[in-house]
């Protein structure tokens, strides 16, 4: 199917690559269908809404920057994403920019079960991570 994207204009995507965020993502609760697309810059990706062209977030693989990054999913989150094996899960963090500094939101990782394409932005309660962790790109 064809979708309109913020970074690449109209592109063709495989419907099987659509990731379903049942609850949307915080701040954009009304949009539930996304695709994750590669962007040219290194291993970064973008989370593009299918329903809203302007809703596009840049994602990093946290382990490229923080080797010991660790998150614990609650039983409830594991149930909702129908996760059966740890290796079926991909984790990304959303990039931001403020005062010319690039930061990553380490408190609210995007978690995707690649087996069923269910996704969720988890909010880690009581973690020592920062919502605006500065990173060097």
């Amino acid at each position: 199917m064809k979708i309109d994207t913020r970074l690449f204009g109209e592109i063709e995507i495989n419907e099987e690559s659509i990731i379903y965020f049942k609850e949307g993502i915080p701040g954009f609760e009304n949009y539930s269908r996304f695709v994750i697309l590669d962007i040219e810059e290194g291993s970064m990706k973008c989370l593009q809404s299918i329903e809203n062209k302007t809703l596009c977030l840049i994602l990093i693989n946290p382990f490229d920057y923080f080797k010991d990054y660790q998150i614990n999913l609650s039983d409830n989150e594991i149930d909702k994403l129908k996760i059966s094996k740890e290796e079926d899960v991909f984790i990304f963090n959303v990039l931001n920019i403020k005062d010319d500094k690039i930061t990553a939101n380490m408190v609210a990782p995007i978690v995707v079960n690649v087996i069923n394409n269910l996704g969720m932005q988890i909010i880690l309660q009581d973690s020592n991570y920062s919502i605006r962790q500065e990173i060097k790109c």
């Binding site: 701040g27 840049i58 609650s74 403020k98 790109c137």
Partner: protein, 70 residues
């Protein structure tokens, strides 16, 4: 909004299996004890608001971000 007065040690019950108890109250800070089923997510509201704002900012600043990482 429903408003209730509670003393230290008193609780309110919400639906099935959720109990919120006032444990301590001093200097304008209320310490609450919460019991709820495992599938009920309990989270500080300001944390959710911060994540909402961070996501909105990120989408708003996409062009700047792309320029910077290129």
């Amino acid at each position: 909004m429903l408003v209730l007065k509670r003393n230290k040690g008193e609780s309110i019950l919400i639906g099935d299996g959720i109990e919120i108890k006032v444990l301590e109250c001093s200097n304008g800070i209320v310490k609450l004890g919460i019991e709820a089923p495992k599938d009920v997510k309990i989270i500080r509201k300001e944390l959710v608001v911060e994540v909402q704002n961070a996501n909105k900012e990120s989408a708003d600043n996409l062009d700047m971000l792309i320029k910077k990482i290129k």
